[in-house]
């Protein structure tokens, strides 16, 4: 009996120590990102997290004089992580739209791009956004691409991210997937995959920004940092590095 009580006490003690060490100081900036969305956020050959969004976030952190700590999160739970204070900033090509403006603090844009529709290479039926009506696409459930596809009358299968969507497309389980032209371009470049093609553009440019909790007070500093990084050419340089062209909108 006494041994049981001792064991219980030890277990309790272990628990309290576990719970007691999970808060980050204010000199740390916790940044949420997928880590599976090349070229914005992915694991480099050395196993380290890298990518355009990752490097921009690092540069912003440096400007703010804060230690940047990345937290890898699937897209669909990224905003939940933000609201539950597990992260302070989302750096994952957050497209600016009215809904998100209402719910979060958004920075000034650091990427400008457009949406494209990806189909199987031998598919000639889909040549515009309108052709998605009645077709099936795969998107992250909470991404703006899901809204674009739904708006075009497509039936949307929810998936984790772009990688999974392409797999489903090639297996013939879906007809198309809508995503960022930069992500699609990177995929084609890095895999040399001839099985899928860009069939059309969605016809609208979109701007991507960092997102923080509403009234976090973080954004004025982040915006100032972004402005400085734009002015000194850092953004353009990072953009050239990852996309071969300047998409920073500066």
């Amino acid at each position: 009996m006494r041994r049981t009580i001792l064991a219980l006490a030890a277990a309790l003690l272990a628990l309290t120590t576990l719970v007691g060490c999970s808060s980050a100081g204010s000199d740390t900036l916790r940044v949420g990102t997928e880590g599976t969305y090349s070229p914005f956020s992915f694991q480099g050959p050395d196993g380290q997290l890298t990518g355009y969004d990752v490097e921009v976030a690092r540069a912003v952190g440096a400007k703010l004089g804060k230690e940047v700590e990345f937290v890898q999160t699937p897209w669909d739970s990224i905003f939940a992580a933000l609201e539950s204070q597990r992260i302070d900033l989302v750096a994952n090509q957050v497209t600016i739209n009215d809904e998100r403006k209402a719910r979060y603090d958004l920075s000034t844009p650091y990427t400008v791009s457009e949406g494209v529709i990806v189909t199987r290479a031998d598919d000639t039926a889909i040549r515009s956004l309108a052709d998605l009506r009645g077709r099936t696409t795969a998107q992250s459930a909470t991404s703006n691409w899901a809204e674009v596809a739904r708006g075009a009358g497509a039936n949307v299968e929810a998936v984790e991210g772009f990688v999974q969507a392409v797999q489903l497309l090639k297996d013939g389980r879906i007809d198309a997937t809508v995503n960022d032209t930069l992500a699609v371009g990177e995929y084609e470049k890095s895999t040399g995959d001839r099985g899928v093609k860009v069939a059309a553009t969605t016809g609208d440019t979109s701007e991507q920004a960092f997102a923080a909790r509403k009234d976090s007070g973080l954004m004025p500093d982040v915006d100032r940092a972004l402005a400085e990084l734009g002015a000194d050419g850092t953004l353009a340089q990072l953009s050239e590095k990852y996309f071969g062209s300047d998409v920073s909108g500066e």
Partner: protein, 222 residues
């Protein structure tokens, strides 16, 4: 919880119930029945005197018990297409869950069969019963009694494991909750409702278990 969240829950009570009845429960039932049949064959292979058969069953059980169920699902759904075999989400899930239940339940059935005293086999043989008849009329009815509680465990686990099928496009209970929560990020509320649904299904199964146990007790000499 604000009124909008309650309204969202209200709107999704029926779709979630429908997903439970048309997807989660059938997926569980079909997989469990196929899995049990497979498990019986595996258990008999494990205790047979034919060495290659024994090893085959051993390796199979080891692989199934030693790899994550999620990986097994992904192999059926994502890896088979690379061999030119594209199976729809629901059948894919049925295949993966059946194979999984087969591996786990095989050990339960084997233990239950071995718990029947050897004398029962011998007695059946002396009155001229063959292997199949002995199994069907003497051994299995007695082994069933021992096997019901652990098999109920497997079944109840399976009910909740079917939520993993949400990752391979099966629109079961959890996926309906996910899709409903996505626009407003009210995951907590809708997952809570899903949890309650799973719990209700498991409560019903537990009460069935009690009845089945009572029924199998009928002929036990006290």
């Amino acid at each position: 919880m604000d009124p909008a969240t309650w309204e969202l829950i209200g709107r999704n009570l029926w779709p979630m119930l429908k997903a439970t009845v048309t997807m989660t429960i059938p997926l569980t039932a079909i997989s469990f029945v196929i899995g049990l049949a497979l498990a019986l064959l595996l258990a008999l292979a494990r205790i047979s005197s034919i060495t290659p058969l024994t090893w085959l069953a051993r390796v199979y059980i080891s692989v199934i018990r030693g790899t994550p169920l999620l990986v097994q699902l992904f192999i059926v759904f994502y890896a088979l297409p690379q061999l030119g075999l594209v199976i729809d989400p629901f059948p894919s899930a049925v295949i993966a869950f059946s194979l999984n239940v087969g591996g786990y339940a095989a050990e339960i059935i084997r233990a239950a069969i071995l718990s029947i005293p050897k004398g029962q086999w011998e007695a059946a043989q002396t009155i001229g019963m063959g292997y199949a008849t002995t199994l069907r009329r003497v051994i299995l009815p007695q082994a069933a009694r021992t096997a019901v509680p652990p098999l109920s465990n497997t079944l109840i686990s399976l009910v909740k494991d079917t939520s993993l099928a949400s990752t391979i496009l099966v629109t079961e209970l959890l996926r309906v909750a996910q899709l409903a929560a996505a626009p407003t990020f009210d995951f907590f509320a809708l997952y809570g409702v899903a949890a309650v649904y799973y719990w209700i299904v498991c409560l019903i199964l537990s009460s069935v278990q009690v009845r089945v146990e009572a029924r199998l007790e009928r002929y036990v000499a006290r």
